[in-house]
Amino acid sequence: MQQLADVTPGRVGAAGASVEVAGVSHVYEGRDGRVPALEDITLTVGAGRFTVIVGPSGCGKTSLLMMMAGLRRQTSGTILCAGRPILDPDPQRVGVVFQEASLFPWQTAMENVEFPLALRHVPAAERHRRSASMLNLVGLDGFGGRYPHELSGGMKQRVSIARGLVQDPPVLLMDEPFAALDEQTRMTMGHELLRIWSQTSKTVVFITHSLTEAVYLADEVLVMSARPGRIIDRIEVDLPRPRTYEMMATDRFGRLRERIWQQIRKPD
C-alpha cells in the first residue's frame, strides 16, 4: 500500500448530536401480504458516542439506518436527530457512508468529496478548501486528483468518509463501510476511523457483520434479532480508549465478542 500523508492533529469541525429512535416499526407489502421488518425499535445514541449495530442478514439493520438518514420512511414511530425529527435526507445533520461502490467513477476523489457541496452551489474556492481539509483529515493528501479506479479499496472508503464529513454534520451513519475490504485493510481502516472520530467527536452509528470490528470500534453494541428486527441486547463496551490491536487478544475483548455471538445465534 502507498504511504499515506501525515495528518494534521487537533479537533476538526462541529461536535456530535444525539440520535433518538422511538417506537419505530416498519412493515412492507410483500408478495404474501404485509411483512413486518422492524418491530418497536427504541434506542438512543448519545452525542459523540460510537454505536455499532449488529444482527443477522435481513434483520432490517440497513433499513433502520436508511430511516435515520431520511432515505426511507418508517411505518410508525419517530426518529429525532439533534432534537428534531428526520423526515427527509438532511445532509447538514446526517452524513452517510455507504459500501465500497458508492463513489462516482466519473469524478476524481476531490470532486467526489465536493459533491454534497456542489449540490448546494457552494462556490468553487470554498469547495476546494473544504475538500482539501477533509482529504487531509482522512489521510489522503495528494490523492485528490485520482479517479476511484486508481485508488485501493481502503482509499476509496477514506474518500467516502471525507464525503460524509465534508458538510460537517453532527451525525455520521455508516452502512457496512468496510465489508468489501480484506481483513488487514479492514483493521487499519477501523483504527483510522477511530482516529478520525476522536478528532471530530461526531456521533457515529455503524453497521457491521464483523463482531470483532463491533467490539473494537464501539462504545455500545446493539444486537438485533432476525426478522422482524428487534433490539435484543445492548452491550456497553468498557474497553479503554484509545483502542489498540493488542486489546483484541485480551479475555475482556473475547468475553464481549462471545456475548454478542451468543445473542446473534440465539434462535427465536
Binding site: 438518514a69 431520511g70 432515505l71 427527509d88 435526507p89 438532511d90 445532509p91 446526517v94 452517510v96 455507504f98 459500501q99 461502490a101 458508492s102 462516482f104 467513477p105 466519473w106 459533491f115 454534497p116 456542489a118 449540490l119 448546494r120 479517479y147 476511484p148 479506479h149 458538510q167
Partner: protein
C-alpha cells in the same frame, strides 16, 4: 507483443491487401474485369468526385442520413428512457419492442415504398424505422447501467430530481449513449443505402446499384471506397470520444 510490433503488423496487413488489390488483377491472377486494379479505381474515384451528378447524389444521401439520424436518435433515446424508467410504459411496450427488434427491417421496405413512394421522405422514414429499435434498446441499457447506489448517495446528500438527472443519470449513461450513436449510425447508413439501392432516382446507393447492374466495376468500387471512408471516419470519431471517457467505466 509490444505496441510497436502490433502497429507494424497491422500496417503490413493493410499494405498487403492494397498491394494484392493492385498486383493480382494486373498479373491476371484475378479477373481485372471483376476487380479492377486499385490505382484504376482510385483515379476513377477522383473523376467521380468532380462530377456534378455524383456530387448531387452525395448531397442527397448525406441529407437523408443526417435527417434520419437526427430524428431516430433523440426519439429512440426518449422512448428507451421512458420504457426503462416507467414501470407502466415498460410493462406495456417492452415485449412488443423486443419482438419487433428481432425482425429484419428490410422486409418492410416494400411497404414503405407503397405508402411513401421512392423519394426523400421514404428514405428517411425507412432509416428512422430501421434505427429506432436499436436506439431504444441501447437507451434502456444505458438507464439500467445507472447504479442504484449512486442515486442513493445523491439522495442522501439532498439532491433534487433535476440534480439526480444531470449529476448521476447523464454521466452514468454517457459511455453507453456514445456507443449507441455509433451503432445507430451503422444501422441508419445501412438502411439509407438499402433503400437507395432498392428503388430510387438519386443518391450514392442508387448510383452504386446502377454501376453494378451495368458492370461498371471501377465506378462501383470507387463508390465502395468513398462510402467506406465516410463510415469509418464517423465511427472512429465517436470511438475516440468513447476512449476519452473510458475512465468512467467501472
Amino acid at each position: 507483443m509490444s505496441r510497436l510490433a502490433i502497429v507494424l503488423a497491422r500496417l503490413a496487413l493493410f499494405l498487403a491487401l492494397i498491394g494484392a488489390w493492385e498486383v493480382l488483377p494486373r498479373l491476371g491472377i484475378l479477373n481485372a474485369r471483376l476487380l479492377p486494379p486499385l490505382s484504376d479505381v482510385l483515379s476513377m474515384l477522383l473523376q467521380l468526385v468532380g462530377r456534378a451528378n455524383v456530387q448531387e447524389a452525395m448531397m442527397v444521401t448525406a441529407a437523408e442520413v443526417v435527417v434520419a439520424f437526427v430524428i431516430a436518435v433523440p426519439l429512440g433515446a426518449l422512448i428507451g428512457v421512458a420504457v426503462a424508467e416507467s414501470e407502466y410504459f415498460g410493462e406495456i411496450f417492452k415485449p412488443m419492442l423486443f419482438y419487433v427488434f428481432s425482425v429484419p427491417k428490410s422486409i418492410f421496405l416494400p411497404v414503405f415504398i407503397l405508402v411513401l413512394g421512392i423519394g426523400f421522405h421514404q428514405k428517411v422514414a425507412y432509416a428512422v424505422f430501421s434505427t429506432l429499435f436499436i436506439v431504444i434498446m441501447s437507451a434502456t441499457a444505458a438507464v439500467e447501467s445507472v447504479k442504484p447506489e449512486h442515486v442513493l448517495v445523491a439522495r442522501s446528500y439532498g439532491a433534487t430530481r433535476r440534480q439526480i438527472l444531470f449529476r448521476v443519470y447523464v454521466p452514468s449513461m454517457v459511455p453507453i449513449l456514445l456507443e449507441t450513436l455509433r451503432i445507430a449510425m451503422i444501422f441508419n447508413f445501412t438502411a439509407v443505402m438499402i433503400a437507395e439501392m432498392y428503388a430510387s432516382r438519386t443518391g450514392i446507393g442508387h448510383l452504386i446499384a446502377n454501376w453494378g447492374e451495368n458492370f461498371q466495376m471501377r465506378q462501383l468500387f470507387a463508390g465502395v471506397i468513398l462510402l467506406s471512408m465516410v463510415a469509418i471516419f464517423f465511427n472512429e470519431t465517436i470511438r475516440w470520444m468513447e476512449t476519452k471517457c473510458s475512465s468512467w467505466r467501472t
